[in-house]
């Protein structure tokens, strides 16, 4: 589904990714772990198309399409969706309005008509109940005045409504207490199916107790230096990142 080959990325003249390779197939959950500053968030930002990231080498293919040639919105419409580490506030724009505009934009790209209002309301109510979000959230301005946990739940709510093919979640666990973590994890787990892939970017192993990955990759200094199964995450938790680095250099 997603194929990243030899990806080199520079941000403000600083080389962040130095030849990253990653293949994700439908139905899989991948976790990217690594120390701070390793380039974890850069990877998902580049895939989503954020400005300021210069790809100097390498390719990203999504279902055979050259992602780097696509506009930001085209990527989202193709089914690549990024859940933000720090969701953005948009004053005056109702949450429900953003959801509807996004859903309809994606439907339009698939050649479908706008979702009928009653159907949309039903969908949104159902999904926000799943995320334990009070209906009043839908009427509030996007992320404005939301607590950290509310913002993260809101990101997952968007995923549940937009149903991406590849959901990329950047540090979705940061700033969550254990109850909120559970709700977020349940939401993400409900997205798991044979046609969808999930890419988790996280610093801590904790999240992976709730969302169990099929593959764990260790990103150090711009490269994936080690890949393994879910047990790798536990090992990292126990031993830290230094041994992986030493092993890769050796």
């Amino acid at each position: 589904m997603l194929e990243v080959k030899d990806l080199h990325v520079t941000v403000e003249d600083k080389v962040i990714l130095k030849g990253l390779n990653l293949t994700i197939n439908a139905g899989e959950v991948h976790a990217i772990m690594g120390p701070n500053g390793a380039g974890k968030s850069t990877l998902s930002a580049v895939i989503a198309g954020k400005d300021g990231y210069e790809v100097t080498q390498g390719t990203i293919l999504f279902e055979g399409q050259d992602v780097l040639e696509m506009e930001i919105e085209e990527r989202a419409r193709a089914g690549l969706l990024l859940g933000f580490q720090y969701p953005i506030e948009i004053p005056g724009v109702k949450n429900i309005y953003l959801l509807k505009a996004a859903l309809n934009a994606q439907r339009a790209a698939r050649g479908e008509g706008e979702i009928p209002a009653p159907e949309f309301m039903k969908l949104v109510r159902e999904k926000s109940t799943d995320m334990k979000m009070d209906p009043s959230f839908l009427q509030r301005a996007v992320n404005e005045g939301f607590s950290g946990g509310e913002k993260k739940r809101n990101e997952i709510l968007q995923m549940l409504i937009l149903q991406p093919k590849l959901a990329m979640l950047d540090e979705i666990d940061s700033g969550l207490d254990i109850d909120a973590m559970k709700v977020v994890a349940d939401g993400v787990n409900s997205l798991r199916n044979a046609d969808r892939a999930i890419l988790l970017v996280t610093h801590y192993q904790r999240l992976l107790n709730h969302i169990v990955p099929d593959h764990v990759h260790v990103l150090v200094d711009g490269r994936i230096v080690k890949s393994g199964g879910k047990d790798l995450a536990l090992e990292l938790e126990e031993r830290g990142y230094d041994w992986v680095l030493e092993e890769s250099v050796a």
Binding site: G49, E73, I88, E89, I90, P91, V93, L98, A101, Q106
Partner: protein
Amino acid sequence: MASEEMEQLVRREYKQGFVTDIESETVPPGLDESTIAFISQKKEEPRWMLEWRLEAYHQWLKMTPPSWSHLEYPPIDYQAISYFSAPKKPEDRPQSLDEVDPKLLETYEKLGIPLHERAALAGVAVDAVFDSVSVATTFKDKLHEAGVIFCSISEAIREYPELVRQYLGTVVPQSDNYFAALNSAVFTDGSFVYVPEGVKCPMELSTYFRINAANTGQFERTLVVCDKRAQVSYLEGCTAPMRDENQLHAAVVELVALEDAYIKYSTVQNWYPGDENGKGGIYNFVTKRGDCRGDRSRISWTQVETGSAITWKYPSCMLRGKESIGEFYSVAVTNGRQQADTGTKMIHIGENTRSTIVAKGIAAGRSDQAYRGLVKIGPRAKGARNYTQCDSLLIGDQCGAHTFPYQEIGNSTATVEHEATTSKIADDQLFYCRARGIDEEDAVSMIVNGFCKDVFQELPMEFAVEAEALLNVTLEGSVG
């Protein structure tokens, strides 16, 4: 039906008639006493009105155009303007929509304006079906029943001279400023509203119907008087871009609210801003002022300004009555090469007077805009309060927004709060929306509409919906 006949028909339906004579007489360009006498005579005005006009004219001669605004435009030759002209003859107008700026037509299309109205708005000499004739008649009956007077200012001068004489120029004196003085001397069009004591006007008053029937005057004069405990909501303008051969527009609007009266005045202004280089756009120099004359009276200005090449406009409130309230909610959008210098003045004179200012400025393209606001608390305005919030949003890096807040506090018990922000339309907000599949232009309009929410919610429902559509059209092509 030829459009001239149609205009006649429209006029006939307003029984008391807006302008009874439509002989094709036009005075040659230039302004002197005889021009003013001609206008006054054409309007069948009483003697005092002519004298009032002449007084204004003499004041005007001694004045110079204001130079303090943040605007740039070539000097206007006031002797090159024709101050009275009958409606344009069909042969002088564009003969078909093919002769009209295609950009204008595109905009009509996007705003969803019906085909037959597009031609009329663009000034094309064509037959038109006018629903507004019958609408206007029912409208008149209902108002008459309630005792509300709503007619053209010319008609009011003839039919209700005492009322007009009592209030005209009491809010905006003839010598108030250069453009107001000019307007006082030569105004030929405009509306008059009087809502009697205790009456709540049964409908929102709009000049829309009249604007459909004929182009708005170059020098409009509007006077709205709300007697004790009366209420009225007045809507001015039209979301459709209007073309006019007259480049200079200098209107005066006066509002008078007596005890416990409430006037809500909403404007959506979308004059032709000119082509991409600003050529042919309207200069809009307006003096709007409300006088909260009675205790507990309230005047609320709401405006959405998207048009004109140049806008110079400061709707203001004189808060004289005790506990009177003044409000100003404004969205000004400039794109292309538009310039706007707009804002408000809140003059607190009475005790415990309150005012609220919410001004939102959005600049895109190579446009430039300034917010200029004065909050003045007089020595007797014990316990006066003002809250001002002005926010500017810049789209792109070739536009400019400037804020000039002035405060003159003459009473130590007053509370004056001012908040101001200037932000670029945030890249991270755009990215967030686009990363959900929303295209860039829709994302911009969504963010901008959110930015304007506080003001739009003050508009009457119908207007609010139109205003949003208008905003989107105005900002089209401002990114990317």
